[in-house]
């Protein structure tokens, strides 16, 4: 029997229509906008000024604290300005505009495709290099990777989990990466193991990607300590805590980090980025983005430079279909609708999804019928109907008692609700408020 997590979960239609599209390099855009806050933590501080010439891979914004990260130029050209522009939420954020001129890379970046299997660096040096390369979790949460690799005092990591689950419907960027760069991912995994000083690693892949499982299982024999685990197709299998539960059988305690059970989870995209940073000296400035949707002419997986406007990706995939109702950054379950197509691709953009109008809009919601479907699908064992009411009535102390902070915002409750109630909207609101209260209390 395939491994999976026990509590809750749903199975939305997979719709992986771009699964067979090979990763293509997207043509360079004319200008890029690189927000300085595209990761969790403090925004980076720009180190370039208007008029400066930059090369691909050059540091343009410096990490400003421990939980923060460097940002590198994804293109070569001239810095047009350091100014504000709207990000995916519509609020303006600071960032760097670069006018693209040519494609001149920094000399130290190795652009060949030759696989480099070994490194002379020790664990500490690897972590330092990961930090310098500006690597963040590419699964979508964009948490700086170097922070994860240093366990807090008194805790030791025992196992590294690489997340190749990609449980979000439609998205195929991780799937394609596993098919096209299996060795790189495995080397990256080994580098991460070395950095953390662990003996064991497991790559979790959902069973709807048999080709990737087969390919990686074959290759993993050459790499010591790496196991490939096929997992049952169930959303949100790719959630950090769900993956740990499925692979190791252990449960992360409420409010705790995965390290509390000796696990560290990284995405396959992150493992690949780590490989590139260590073996090829290449900082993180491009990533694989799926452009998909039922009406899209050419559903594709593109290798995109950070900062490329979303409109260029849509253009490259055959243009915006007439009947598009929503443009979503990310997958249909956890992604966010974009207010404008000028929004750039950031380190956390895993996909651009174009949803047709007839299913894009949310129907009017009705009263709760107490069917408790939300309770049975919640992968964290929460009571979403109750948390929603507490958010609606703004009873935040009770919401905290009901573990609102444990919510992983997977959206299974909203997805399954027969009354179309906006459960997650209110829970997220409650979570934000409770989070603010907790931070205030700690001060």
């Amino acid at each position: 029997m395939l491994k999976t997590f026990k509590t809750g979960g749903v199975h939305p239609p997979e719709n992986k229509i771009s699964a067979n599209a090979k990763i293509e390099q997207l043509p360079l855009p004319k200008t890029v906008f690189i927000p300085v806050a595209q990761h969790i933590g403090a925004p980076a501080t720009p180190v370039v000024n208007k008029g400066d010439a930059v090369k691909v891979g050059q540091l343009i914004a410096k990490s400003s604290s421990f939980v923060s990260t460097n940002i590198h130029a994804p293109v070569s050209g001239k810095v047009k300005k350091v100014d504000v522009a709207p990000d995916s939420t519509g609020y303006t954020k600071q960032g760097i505009f670069i006018d693209v001129e040519g494609d001149e890379w920094m000399e130290e970046i190795d652009r060949s495709e030759i696989l480099v299997k070994t490194t002379g660096l020790d664990g500490k040096a690897i972590i330092q290099k990961i930090q310098d390369a500006g690597i963040v979790g590419l699964g979508g949460a964009t948490f700086p990777t170097h922070v994860k690799l240093v366990p807090p005092m008194g805790m030791t990591a025992k196992i590294l989990l690489i997340n190749g689950v990609e449980c979000e419907p439609y998205l195929t960027s991780d799937h394609r990466l596993m098919l096209e760069k299996p060795d790189e991912i495995l080397v990256g995994t080994q580098l991460l193991m070395k950095a953390m000083n662990v003996e064991k690693a497991a790559i979790g892949i959902e069973n709807n990607k048999p080709d990737a499982i087969q390919l990686l299982t074959g290759k993993a024999k050459d790499y010591k300590g790496i196991e490939i685990v096929a997992l049952k197709v169930k959303y949100p299998q790719g959630g950090e805590k769900q993956l740990i539960k499925a692979v190791t059988g252990r449960e992360v305690p409420s409010g705790g980090l995965p390290i509390a059970v000796g696990a560290v989870v990284s995405n396959v995209g992150t493992a690949f980025a780590v490989y590139e940073a260590i073996a090829k000296n290449k900082p993180l400035f491009e990533r694989v983005v799926t452009v998909t949707g039922k009406g899209v002419k050419r559903p594709s997986n593109f290798k995109v430079r950070i900062g490329t406007p979303t409109s260029e990706l849509i253009e490259a995939a055959g243009g915006l279909p007439e009947n598009t109702g929503k443009i979503i950054s990310g997958g249909p379950m956890m992604g966010k609708a974009l207010a404008s197509v000028d929004v750039p691709v950031t380190k956390g953009t895993s996909g651009i999804l174009l949803i047709e109008e007839k299913i894009a809009n949310r129907p009017e919601y009705l009263d709760c019928i107490r069917c408790s479907r939300c309770v049975s699908v919640c992968p964290m064992g929460l009571e979403p109907y109750l948390l929603m009411t507490l958010g609606e009535k703004q009873i935040f102390d009770r919401a905290e008692q009901e573990r609102v902070m444990d919510c992983i915002e997977c959206g299974s409750c909203s997805y399954t609700c027969p009354s179309n109630r906006p459960l997650l909207d209110y829970i997220r609101f409650g979570k934000a408020k409770v989070g603010a209260i907790i931070r205030l209390r700690k001060k």
Partner: protein, 288 residues
């Protein structure tokens, strides 16, 4: 039959009498002395329980007043000076004189001024909408129009003006309790001095973007040009972050700034009409 009725009455009477006796002694034993002035102060208060004074309802406020050594810092915004005078008389203290205030909404981005550029289809509350994105127009500062202020107002002092997208304060009902100020996630509502006849001159904009960006998003955005600042004879207007601000303590309601504002972002309310009457614009349709 008769016996049953008599028995029932007798038993119930006995239970009743015994309980009454017990309750009498319990009430005596556990009697809590409460200052009778709390009741009379509470009587003098408006009884709206709005929380505008900063305490949990009128009773809590009355309790605080009675216990306080002097009434400085204690003010019932709903009752105003008159009520506080009465409270002071009861307690034999002196009440501070407070200038009456009223709420101002610093946005005039109704849907004919501010074109819609995206469509929000989540929950219709400002708090949630503001936490996920900046709004349906290109102005990230302006009113969202879902009416969180309307929902919290207990005095019916906010008119949502369904269809216009920006609410209006009904001045004769507003008591400046400040609930709407806290409810607005964009911080558009402010409490300021109430002028005679509820006249208001206000920069109805909070857009801190550069002039060109602000103007593109909204017809009536403040572009921070500084004309009003130069025109004002009383130093009441200051410009900061591309945005003008009128200090209501210094403003003399001369209305000169209103006529020089190139984008009409300074609005006058409750003034007698000027000679040149502007044309009424058609009301456009958007739902709450």
């Amino acid at each position: 039959m008769t016996i049953t009725i008599i028995l029932t009455i007798a038993i119930l009477s006995i239970i009743g009498t015994t309980s009454a006796v017990i309750l009498f002694f319990v009430a005596k034993k556990f009697y809590v002395y409460e200052d009778p002035r709390i009741d009379s102060v509470e009587q003098a208060l408006p009884g709206a329980n709005c929380g505008g004074c900063g305490y949990a309802g009128c009773r809590a406020f009355a309790d605080t007043c009675v216990k306080a050594a002097d009434l400085s810092g204690l003010n019932c915004p709903v009752g105003g000076n008159e009520t506080m005078g009465k409270v002071a008389d009861i307690l034999g203290l002196v009440a501070e004189k407070k200038e009456p205030r009223t709420a101002f909404i610093r946005c005039n981005g109704t849907c004919d001024h501010r074109p819609k550029t995206s469509n929000y289809d989540g929950v219709s509350t400002c708090a949630i909408a503001a936490s996920v994105y900046s709004g349906e127009t290109d102005c990230q500062w302006g009113c969202l129009g879902y009416g969180d202020c309307f929902d919290v107002c207990e005095f019916d002092a906010i008119d949502l003006r369904a269809g216009l997208g920006v609410p209006l304060i009904i001045d004769d009902k507003c008591v400046a309790c400040g609930k709407c100020v806290d409810a607005c996630p964009k911080n558009l509502i402010e409490l300021r001095k109430r002028f005679p006849k509820d006249r208001k001159i206000v920069v109805a904009c909070r857009n801190k973007d550069k002039g060109a960006t602000a103007r593109k998003a909204c017809d009536v955005a403040c572009i921070g040009c500084g004309k009003c600042e130069k025109e004002c004879n009383y130093d009441a207007i200051t410009i900061e972050n591309n945005l003008a601000f009128i200090d209501s303590d210094k403003c003399k309601l001369c209305r000169k700034c209103v006529s020089v504002c190139p984008t009409n972002s300074i609005i006058e309310l409750n003034f007698p009409p000027r000679k040149i009457v502007t044309e009424e614009k058609e009301v456009c349709n958007t739902e709450k």
